[in-house]
Subunit: 107 residues, 2 copies
DNA sequence: TAAACATATGTTAACATTAACATATAAAGG
DNA sequence: CCTTTATATGTTAATGTTAACATATGTTTA
C-alpha cells in the first residue's frame, strides 16, 4: 500500500549515490571516517592537487555529507552524518560478495 | 595499520555507486526488492520505454546486481545480492536525516 | 598593511553518461 | 515458415562530470 511512499526518496538517493560514485570523494569520506582533517592533510594523504580536493570538499559539504570548522588558517573537515558510513559499509559487503565469490545461488 | 587495506575496495565501490546513482536503475532495483519482474512489468510500472529498461537491466546485470531467467517469451529479473538492499536502506536513512531534520549537532 | 600561508573559486577542454530512436534477435503459435 | 510478442542491441546527439589550470579570497603575523 505505501510500498510507493518510498519513491519520494529515490531522487535524493540517486543524488547521494552520485556523490559517492567518485573515487576521489569516496577516498575523502573514508579518510574522514576516523578524524577531522585539514584540506592540506587530505591533499598529502591522497596525493591530489589542492584545488581538486577543495572542489570535492565543497561538493560534499553542499550536500551535507561533511561540515567544516576553521581553526586558525586551516579548515578542518569532518563527516556530518554517521549514516553515510553505514552506506559505505554496506557497499563494502556487496563488493566483497561480488569480488570474492561471484554469485550465491548460481555458480 | 591496515587502515589502508580498505583502499582495495574503493574503486569497485565507486563503480557500484555509479550504478545506483541513476534514478531509473534505482527505481528498478527498488521494484525488484519484492519479487522478480519481467521487462514489460517494469516498463509498465515505471512508464519508460522498453529499450531504456532493457538497457538499464543489461547494465545492472553486467555488474551482478541482478540476474535473469527466461520463462517462455519473457525474461524475469531479480536481485542477485541482498546486500544491495542494505546499501539502499542505509542511504534511505541518510536521506531522511538530511531532508527531515538537517544536522544533528549543529542547528 | 604587506608577505606568506591555507584554501576557495572560475574557466575550459576531455571525457563519460543518458535518452531516443531504429532495428535486430528469439521464442511461441498458427 | 510467417507472424506476433517480448526483449536486446547499436548509433548518435544532448547533457553532465571531471581534471587541470590560473587566479582569488581570507587569515595570520611581522
Amino acid at each position: 500500500m505505501n510500498e510507493n511512499s518510498d519513491n519520494i526518496w529515490q531522487d535524493e538517493m540517486a543524488r547521494i549515490f552520485k556523490l559517492l560514485s567518485n573515487p576521489t570523494r569516496l577516498n575523502i569520506l573514508v579518510l574522514l571516517e576516523n578524524h577531522p582533517l585539514s584540506v592540506n592533510d587530505i591533499v598529502e594523504k591522497l596525493q591530489l592537487s589542492q584545488p581538486q580536493v577543495s572542489h570535492q570538499l565543497a561538493i560534499l559539504k553542499a550536500h551535507q555529507l561533511i561540515n567544516s570548522e576553521r581553526v586558525g588558517k586551516r579548515n578542518f573537515y569532518q563527516l556530518d552524518d554517521p549514516h553515510i558510513l553505514n552506506v559505505i559499509d554496506s557497499t563494502k559487503n556487496h563488493v566483497k560478495h561480488v569480488i570474492i565469490g561471484k554469485k550465491h545461488g548460481e555458480l
